[in-house]
């Protein structure tokens, strides 16, 4: 098992290199002089511009970080490969650069924003686990019943419905209409993650965005759960369990559920990874101060360090989550305990 984890971590390296190369190439291909982006509308004094170019490794510098000039007194542009080298070395030192617009270290921006994304993802995943698995189970156990039809129908609707639209509908009903109907007595917060000025308990801010974020994947989780449980209940070992004298609760909870959960856990785990990568749509609709919204902002503003830093961070998170999912998978299914030999 330990060997397997180590192997998986080593496999991160090529993925990491690939991602950084692509990111680096993309930001270099997109037209626009970074110095202009940093400067914005202002025009810079030549010395300042020179300094900036040196600091951003766009021109060759000496040991003291001062620009090197050629015999004509011009700066020497840094080679792309060397630029990538600087980028990687900074990255490995935990330096993601500085936001062009905000003029603060990218790392600080994400330190500030990430907790909101994590908390939103956590609430959403709890909804997904409870509602998704629960609805799927009920639907499978009470097959063809009213509840089954209800679950099948509502999951179809949720899957077909774009999440941002659901978010807007929720805002409309629970934020605006409910406020009108109750004469302002009761309604849900529609945006932001609370704060000092908010009249709401901070957790209330999570409800609508979390439901929105969880909606589609909860529907999928319920469907996977349903079909897996139905399939598992047809297995020979379920018949063995019944023949042993177990009651249906024991058969389902002890013998069927663990087997049926394996694919569901994989799905939910991977989904959690993608939620942690920042839900751009949900965060935008709800004006949520998370990393999805931040990356979205950075892309529109061509704030490359933020984009690169954000995407790098997201890639690392997804890799780690997928490793955790694989490990938990092995925990559920002894057949794939990594490194176990088949005996006899």
């Amino acid at each position: 098992m330990l060997k397997y984890i180590l192997k998986r971590i080593l496999q991160f390296i090529p993925v990491f290199i690939g991602v950084t190369v692509i990111l680096f190439a993309l930001t270099n291909i997109v037209p626009g002089d970074p110095i202009k982006l940093i400067a914005g509308e202002k025009s810079l004094a030549p010395e300042v511009e020179l300094q900036l170019r040196a600091a951003n490794h766009l021109i060759k510098v000496d040991d003291q970080g001062l620009p090197i000039f050629d015999e004509n007194g011009n700066t020497i542009p840094e080679s792309t490969v060397a630029q990538y080298g600087y980028y990687i070395s900074d990255l490995l030192h935990g330096d993601l650069g500085e936001s062009y617009q905000k003029k603060v270290p990218v790392l600080d921006i994400f330190k500030d924003k990430y907790p909101y994304t994590i908390r939103l993802a956590a609430v959403a995943i709890v909804i997904e686990i409870i509602v998704g698995i629960g609805a799927g189970m009920i639907s499978a156990i009470k097959r063809y019943s009213f509840w089954d039809v209800l679950v099948t129908l509502s999951t179809s609707i949720l899957v077909a419905m774009p999440a941002f639209w659901l978010g807007m509908l929720l805002q409309l009903f629970f934020g605006i209409k409910l406020k009108e109907w109750t004469g302002g007595g009761f309604y849900m917060p529609m945006s932001g993650a609370g704060g000092a000025v908010s009249e709401f308990q901070s957790w209330m801010h999570y409800i609508l965005p979390a439901i929105t974020l969880a909606s589609v994947s909860t529907a999928y989780a319920a469907r996977i759960m349903r079909s897996q449980l139905l399939e598992t209940l047809n297995m020979d070992y379920i018949r063995t369990a019944i023949a042993k004298g177990l009651n249906s609760r024991q058969v389902i909870l002890k013998h069927a559920l663990k087997n049926a959960l394996i694919p569901v856990v994989t799905y939910i785990g991977i989904d959690f990874g993608s939620m942690l990568s920042g839900a751009i749509l949900t965060e935008t609709v709800f004006n949520w101060p998370g990393i999805g919204y931040e990356i979205y902002r950075a892309i529109t503003m061509r704030d490359w360090p933020v984009v690169m830093g954000g995407v790098t961070l997201v890639v690392v998170v997804v890799l780690v989550i997928s490793l955790i999912v694989d490990i938990s998978y092995a925990f559920l299914d002894p057949r794939i305990r990594y490194g176990n030999k088949k005996e006899n």
Binding site: R239, A243, G245, N259, D333, P334, E343, N344
Partner: protein, 376 residues
């Protein structure tokens, strides 16, 4: 068996009468009919099966694929989903009491505890995500109230009993770490756990290779000698039950065509289908280059069983009457019946019955003889 002292049965089985106090048959299946109502019509999977089973006895149920053997067994265990299944008649009595309409809760107390079942495919009949020990000991936990620790200890003993080497280690392993033969041993251990009166084995060796098959059958006989449980051995191969069954029921198209003691079936059979089965037993002795004679044709669809004798389309001796009239079960000896119009016609049997089908198999003849006398 060492795990349970005599009399250590659950309240439910006492309610049903203990074996000591009940003098009748352990199990009586009486004209049982189980039909499936499907969109293609009514599948008469079991259509009038009768037999009795006594303590320590082995009944072989033999028939081709689709003849209703499994459905018969599953009906007794209450494992058939209804609908589509429907009991159209008959009864199943365990220790004299009908168990066909027993409430689910009481039926559960019987399953695994009084009547246990071993299934055909050991590869898929064990839960892949639970330890062998948990699965073997589970019955003891639910029926006998064993603690987790006690159940595990019992499981180790059971695994040892069925000949699994190193049981205290293997008890913690998972099914995928066992070979097919070892898994079937686990299934046997699981069936034996609660010391049931009856073990129904549904083709327990079909999925295994020949040498392992023999070992498993031997093990079942050995366990039976130790525990005194009755066995219903379901197979499509008459050869499998040759050395272990006391009684044999030959099934065809959902109904028994011949039923009698093992000797009667092998040496004095009266039904052409039984003869066909006997001729298709592979001869173990290679010196006699005897030809295997397969039964030609296919069994009828159970939705649309022929009007007369169900075997008539394939029977080489069929006469006009066979296509017209369904034969009754005719007793050709005490407890030996045969559903053929010519069952009582001794000339017919003498003329067509295969000559001593298992000639040279003296071990069978003598061994079986002793067995029968010993019990009588």
């Amino acid at each position: 068996m060492a795990l349970l002292k005599k009399g250590e049965k659950t309240a439910e089985s006492q309610e049903l009468g203990s074996a000591e106090s009940y003098s009748g048959h352990l199990l009586e299946v009486d004209n049982l009919k189980m039909h499936f109502h499907t969109k293609d019509g009514i599948v008469k999977a079991v259509d009038g099966v009768s037999y009795t089973l006594d303590r320590g006895e082995t009944l072989g149920i033999v028939g081709e694929s689709g003849s209703g053997k499994s459905v018969t067994a599953m009906t007794i265990m209450g494992l058939i989903k209804m609908p589509p299944g429907k009991i159209e008649g008959g009864d199943v009595r365990y220790k004299g009491k009908s168990i066909l309409n027993l409430p689910e809760e009481k039926m559960r107390k019987l399953r695994g505890n009084d009547i246990a079942m071993i299934f055909q495919d050991p590869m898929s009949s064990l839960n892949p995500v639970y330890k062998i020990g948990d699965q073997v000991g589970e019955g003891l936990r639910i029926h006998k109230g064993y603690s987790k620790k006690e159940a595990k200890e019992a499981a180790i003993k059971l695994l040892d009993l069925v000949g699994i080497p190193n049981p205290s280690v293997r008890v913690n392993e998972y099914p995928h770490q066992f070979s097919g033969g070892m898994r079937q041993r686990v299934m046997i251990a699981m069936a034996l756990a609660c010391n049931p009166d009856i073990i129904i084995a549904d083709e327990p060796t079909t999925a295994l290779d020949v040498t392992i098959q023999a070992q498993i059958l031997e093990l079942m006989v050995e366990m039976q000698e130790k525990n005194g449980n009755a066995i219903i051995m379901i197979t499509h191969d008459l050869g499998v039950v040759a050395n272990m069954a006391d009684k044999i029921m030959v099934m065809y198209a959902g109904a028994p065509v011949e039923y009698g003691s093992a000797e009667e079936i092998f040496y004095e059979s009266h039904h052409p289908y039984t003869w066909g089965l006997i001729q298709s037993i592979p001869e173990q002795k290679m010196d006699e280059k005897k030809r295997l004679t397969p039964i030609k044709g296919n069994p009828p669809s159970l939705v649309d069983v022929p009007k007369g004798c169900s075997f008539s389309p394939r029977c080489p001796y069929a006469q006009a009457v066979c296509f017209d009239k369904r034969p009754e079960a005719l007793y050709v000896g005490e407890g030996h019946y045969c559903t053929c119009h010519f069952a009582l016609d001794n000339d017919f049997a003498n003329k067509f019955r295969p000559k001593s089908s298992r000639s040279g198999d003296t071990e069978f003849a003598t061994g079986e003889q002793e067995h029968v006398e010993g019990r009588a």
